[in-house]
Amino acid sequence: MTERYRQYFEEMPCYLSVHDPSFRIIDGNQRFRRDFGERLGDQCYRVYKGRDEGCENCPVAATFADGVSHMSEQILVTTGGEKVQVLVNTTPIRNGAGETVAVMEMHTDIREVKLLQEQLRRSQSRLGRLFEEVPCYISVQGPDRVIQHANRAFRETFGPALGDHCYSVYKHRDEPCLYCPSQEVFANGKVQKHEELVTSACGEQINVLCTTAPLHNAAGEIEAVIEMSTDITEIRKLQSQLTSIGLLVGSISHGIKGLLTGLDGGMYLVNTGFDKNRPERVKQGWEMVQRNVERIRSMVLDILYYAKDRDLEINDIDAARLAADVVDSGQKRATDLDLALTLAVADEPGVVPGDPKAVRAMLVNIVENSLDACRADTYKTGHAVVVTVRRVPPWMEFAIEDNGIGMDRETREKIFSLFFSSKGISGTGLGLFISNKIADKLGGSIDVASEPGKGSRFVVRLPLEAKPSTHQGSAPETAAGER
């Protein structure tokens, strides 16, 4: 039996050595002898490490001290000078009285394990850097839609985000989106690709092409999804510009057809008025010609606004004076249409910072729309457009109210869209789009309330304190000064 254990001891695939209380090696197995020589009787620290004195944190000393096993990692040096990284386990050898009289030390070569660990660490580090540095937004979400990981591009654009719901980070929503690609992936395990419009932490709209894929655990269950989004805003802008050019051409062509009809009509009335000796018809025809020439002028200005961008020139605007000027500019047309265009100024509204030409063009545009709305309403009489201006801190408020034809909800919601016009053939869909753009660039807004058959009220609010960003931005070219 003893012989058999001796054989086991000898052939163990690790270094085995037995130490006495003075750290002398009193026994060693075959592999120990192979790599460290016949060193029985020498101190272990000399044999294993070439030292002249005991090691700090010596596991053999610890086992002698407390009588229990200890474990540590050490680096040994063989007689051939090779360094061997080992995992050391010690175990006490007791006498009949239970005293530790010797300690057996087992050294397991862990170089291969250490090499693999290092390779794994490097690989993880490389993947981590790749995850961090890849130039698109990457996030990992759990089934609860909470973001568990996010790369640098994501964090820089959408904020820290970890622990937040994807819908609040990506879309600033309080509840999940109607279509959720992550939930789709959790449900069917298939990669989803789709396009989204998301909002950055600073409120910037970003078009992204988003790929969502499942992340499986060892059991093959989907435990999370990874979402990779590529910013395609610039591509979309380019597409939008190309589409806009096409729409602009179509819109202009459509508008010109309407103007030609008006001019044809005017000329017809003038000619037949003279032929029939009907002065009132000549007058009506001539007014029609004048109106459509004015429309052409307005259309050309709108196109210029749309086509060219220029920096805003911020100056103090005398609000009451500007409103009076806008009303004056529409007065002739109002008289021709037999409707009242009036101005109401509350107290002394004072000045508001803004680009005078752009703000004037914006207000003129809205007043023109109100006049058109009254003219289009053939179902009642006594039409009026009232322009009011008042200071309502922190805003300067210009209101344009008419009792014209009014708008239904659908029209109301679309009036600020590019190329949308409720005027059929006579509109280009540029005017209110540009007006809204001007208000927006000045840090203000245009609100509209309207009811079909009753009329509309447009309220333009401009901030009394100029917003710093507006000085940097650019506004559509305004040619209001050319009027």
């Binding site: 009509g265 005017g266 009335l269 009506q284 029209t411 059929g424 053939i425 006579s426």
Partner: protein, 140 residues
């Protein structure tokens, strides 16, 4: 053709003024409205023989008006001519709109903007001729 009742439906006041004056000068009896809802009221009272309708109107479109008229047997003799500045779009829209209303006849004519006065008179004369033929056949 003299005295033929024509209803003009267009939201552009200049077009309405022009067409009304032009058609009255050529002996037509003309009424005009600015939208589809009022057009339907006028049809009830006025019984037009021809409707000249713009396609893009506030609220319900001119195509909507066409379908409403086609569906109502009382107006089966009423001809509808669409007027638009968007000729190509109209053709496409008309085709797809009427496909969705199976078996429904399209407009009796399409006139583009700017309006060609000669074309308007030609379409109305043709419609008047067709009406006369139909009546003749009915008499036989």
């Amino acid at each position: 053709m003299s005295g033929q009742r024509v209803l003009v439906v267009d939201d552009d006041p200049d077009t309405v003024i022009y067409l009304t004056a032009f058609l009255e000068d050529h002996g037509y009896d003309v009424r005009a409205t600015n939208d589809t809802v009022h057009a339907l009221d006028t049809i009830e009272r006025y019984h037009p023989e021809v409707i000249l309708a713009d396609v893009v109107l506030p609220g319900r479109s001119g195509l909507d008006l066409l379908v409403t008229i086609r569906r109502d047997p009382r107006w089966r003799d009423c001809a509808v001519v669409m007027i638009t500045g968007m000729d190509e779009i109209l053709q496409h829209d008309c085709a797809s709109y009427l496909v969705s209303h199976e078996g429904m006849a399209g407009p009796d004519g399409v006139l583009g903007k700017p309006i060609d006065p000669g074309a308007v008179l030609a379409v109305l004369a043709e419609l008047s001729r067709r009406r006369a033929c139909t009546k003749l056949e009915e008499c036989r």
